[in-house]
Every structure is written in C-alpha cells, then in structure tokens.
Symmetry: D2
C-alpha cells in the first residue's frame, strides 16, 4: 500500500464548518454533520476513510471532559492517520493537549471560517487540504488552515484578522 492511500480516521467534533442557520431563531446551530455531503461533493469514491462522530460543539463550549473524549478517541484509533474537525477558536488548545498524549500518529486539525452550508465557504478546500496532509505527513500534530500546514507548537489564531499565523515566523 502506498503512503498516499493510507487509511485515515476522521474524528468529528463540530465547529463552524458544521454549523447551519436555524431559520426559526436566526441562530447558528448544529443539526447533523456535513462531512458525508462534503466527501460526496468531492467525488471521494475509493478513499479509505472511517468517520467517527465524537461530538458536535462550538469549540468555545468545549470542556476538559470533551478534550478527554477527543484524546481517548485518538488514542484508541487503529488508524495511525487522523483528521479532526474542530472549531477554530480553541483548535490550538486541543492540538496542544493531543501533542502531549499522542506521539505515534499523524493528527491533522481542520475547521472553517464560514460554514459549509453558506455561500463562499472555505470548508471544502480546507477538508481537501487537510485530508491530503493527513495522508502524507509524518507522525506529529498539525493545524491545516488557510492553505498552510502549521506545527502544533508554532501556530495561533489571530482573531482580529480571522486567520491562523505562525507564532515565530
């Protein structure tokens, strides 16, 4: 098996990527994941992927128990290549946590600035970018956003500019 078709497990945790507009309340909420729709739109037919829903949460609402659940899912995964969908606000915190506990796997975090269900979303590009990264990168914990792969220890979200940046350029 070539490294480019290594099996990947996708852990779903929520975040903007999966939010939808609730037309009765005018709020953004979670109903179900869009990962299956996205992989279908991307014509991913032969792809060796397992999808495991862990939670659907805004990452600002994540607790220590939530992070423990993500950590446990990553640790017990038989696949050594993991993609984790995650809200962008605390993505780097969860990445730090995982880096302390999972050292023998390739773990790539991904999210979106605009929900997949809205016009102009970055979600499809980001998912494609992160999936290829998860397929090919050596073991380590990474954040794949804005067309860039960041090492977990050298990335932050610049909230004013709405983008991820290296801590030490």
């Amino acid at each position: 098996m070539s490294p480019t078709s290594s099996p990947v497990r996708i852990l779903l945790t929520g975040g903007t990527l999966d939010k939808v507009y609730d037309e009765r309340t005018g709020n953004l909420v979670f109903s179900r994941t869009h990962l299956f729709d996205m992989l279908d739109q991307a014509r991913c037919y032969l792809v060796n992927i397992t999808i495991e829903p862990v939670m659907l949460k805004d990452s600002l609402d994540m607790t220590e128990a939530d992070r423990a659940a993500i950590r446990a899912a990553a640790q017990r995964s038989p696949e050594t290549r993991l993609l984790i969908t995650h809200g962008t606000d605390t993505m780097t915190e969860t990445a730090h946590d995982l880096a302390n506990h999972v050292t023998d796997k390739t773990v790539v975090f991904v999210g979106a600035m605009i929900p997949y269900s809205f016009g102009g979303s970055d979600a499809l590009f980001n998912l494609g970018f992160a999936l290829a990264s998860a397929r090919v990168l050596p073991p380590g914990v990474y954040v794949a956003m804005n067309g860039t792969v960041f090492d977990w220890h050298n990335v932050r979200k610049n909230r004013e500019r709405g983008r991820f940046e290296p801590l030490h350029p």
Copy 2:
C-alpha cells in the same frame, strides 16, 4: 523552512475546473481563470504560491505543441513543487509526457468533474487536496483526483463512471 511551506508554482492549462456557462450561446467556455477566486475563498493568505497561466483549453483540444509548452514551463520553473490544473480527459497523457522529461520535481495534476462556477463542484476540495499534496510529496508525477493521489503510471480515467481509478488495484 519546513517542507509544508515549500513554495509551489501553479501552472494553469484549463479544463472543466475553469469553464463557465455562456448564457448567450448555452455553451461552456473559458473566459478567465478562477484560481485567484478559489484561493481567496480558501483564505490562503500566507501561502507561498506563484501562478503561471500557460493556456486555458479543453484537454481534448490539446496538441503536441500545447504539451511541449506545459513541459517547458515545468522544466524552467525555479520552484521544485508544481501544481498543474488540467482537463480530466487527457490528464494522464500529459502526466506521462511530463514523467519522461521532468524527474527532479514534484508535479501534481488536478482538475474537476464540475466547473468551480457551478453548484456542487468538486473543484475547491480538489484544489486543496492537490495543493497539500504538492507541498509534501517527494519528487514524482502524480494525479490528485477523487480524494486520492495516484502515481502517473498507475491511473486511468474511467469515463463511464466519471472517476479516476488505479490501473492495477
């Protein structure tokens, strides 16, 4: 510089990805590339990318002179990582040609089954997937379609099913 931020040159050659609907004639035509719009939608701010338009053509119309122009552009590129947008119908032919002439660079071909400008397009996902592949893969010629990276010598387009497959699974 980490390998994940290596500079990438994108060579544009056309294909379904960049086609638009001409509402006066009802045909699909080329007007301009959508790559800049796509990278903008993907919030690719810090990305070290050079874009070089070579042509905008349906790949069924490509001549030997066109393939020679693509080959020349790949050979003279100062960047050693290349992404080539290309129509899907003869993508593997051009990949074969390049594999015979460019051996010291990472070359990733990408296209789309549905134009970026239409609803339900796979173009954004494919571009993200191919960009990460071009950033990380070792030298070689690849086709990145359907969420899979194929080696140039083990891929064909199954036209009946509308997808890329390995020749030898």
Copy 3:
C-alpha cells in the same frame, strides 16, 4: 377567494432553467425537473399550485407537435391561470401560438438564462416573478423575464445581448 391566491397550473416544457451539467460528457442535459426543489427552497407551503410535466426539451428542438401538446395542455387546464416554463430561444414563438388559441386564460411564460443548478442563476427570481404575475394579471399571454412582464405581441429575445426587450419601446 382573493385573486392573489387563485390556483395556478405550471406546465413544464424544459429550457435552460431545468438543464444540468453531465459530468461524464461535459454537456448540458435534462434529467428531471427542478421545480419541486425550487418551490421548496422558496418555502411555498400554502400555495395552490398544480405541476404538469409536458416535456423537458431545449426550445430550439421543439416541433409543431410539441407546440400542439403545450397548446392542448393549456386548453384543457381547469385552472384559468397558467405558468409555462420554456426555453428562451423560441419562447416568443410558443407564446404567439398560444395567443391564437387560448384567449380566456392568463398564461405567463418564464425561463432562465442560467440553469437553476448553476451558481448565479436567475431561475429562482424569475419563477417568483412569474408566479406572482400568473396570480394577478388579467387574461392574456405574457412573457415574464428580466424583471419585466411583456405582452406576447411586444417582445423579442435579443440574442446578442442575452435579454428580452419590447419590440416597440
């Protein structure tokens, strides 16, 4: 019953509005009508509408037999308010034909310059505009395109500019 909720029959005949992109051949084809999707997207819940598929054709391919079928459907309709989806290229010809044979009903023709399934389509606006016109206008044959209601005898498609215009402004 107020005139604004009069029952309307929609006769489907095809045209650009209902075309889709065939990703295997790269051509625009008909598969099924999108009218149900469109009325669903428009949240038309209480609307007194009957949908009758007559054909799904490019209007350049319409024969005299096709026009006779449209005419027969219009004549036998128990509803006196009709909306007809139709390709734009020969919409005015079919409107002329109907005006000679159906004089006691409100008949509104509508189509689209861009298929509903593509980005940037005018189809949803046009359908909304034409439905309200069919609900409220007095008996007669009309073309509802470009945000304008034209009388059948004072409209032509300007193919170079891709729009409908009055013959006598």
Copy 4:
C-alpha cells in the same frame, strides 16, 4: 405605459435577507445591502426601479422612530408602487402601521427566512415574487412571503413553523 412596467420604489430596511456571516465573530450582521447584487443576478436590465436605503436593521430592534422613518419614506415617495424589504419578525406590525397612514399606494412587504448570502436562500424567489406583486396589485398594503400575497389585516408569522399564514383561512 402598461401597468406591468409601472415604476417601483424599493425601500430597504434590513432583515434576514441582507444579513451576512461575520467570520471573525461568528455572528450575523449587516454590512451593505445585497439588493443590487440580487437585481443583477436576476438580469433586471430595463426595470424601472428606484432603491432607497432607509436603514439596515433586525426588525426585532426597530423602534417607533424607525417605523416613523419608514412611514415618512413611503408617504413622500413620488412612485405609487412600493416594495419594502423588512425583517420577518415584526413585518406585520410595520404593515399595520403603514396601512393606517398610506392608503393611496400599493405597498408590498418582503423578507427572507434565510439570508441571500447563504446557500438555499428563499431571498431571490421572494424578491421576484414581491416585485411582480408591487407592479400589478391595486392600492393596499400586502405581505408577500412563502409564494403568497397576504392582505395586511389577514396575516401573521407562525414562529414555530417558520412561515406566514392567514389569520382567518
């Protein structure tokens, strides 16, 4: 001039229709109106329309002063046919207010359940439906939503079901 091309003034007041997603905060906000984009997408070239921005507000935040401003704009309009974009939550309240003060004009209220900038929006259909209604209906105050024209005194928003209904069916 035929009644179907009577000049129409569009008063903009805001509402869901014009909201956008703020990717820095994750909230829905107003930045600018989308009416020009919408009329452009609808290929409304010859249409005799004047657009007057009155405010861009969530209709739950409208004050008596806001309603007075809308009323004044409607009263001083030289065009006797008015379309008013408005949030759905208090659309019927503003319609009641106008019905008490503007009796010689055709006033049609319209909004959207999903912002125009999101996928699956009803905004384009609603705008088309309301524009045709404003062009053709006799003087009176109307709410044009869900593919239906309601008289101002016989309509309510059913918030649980997310739709407009007649008070007395």
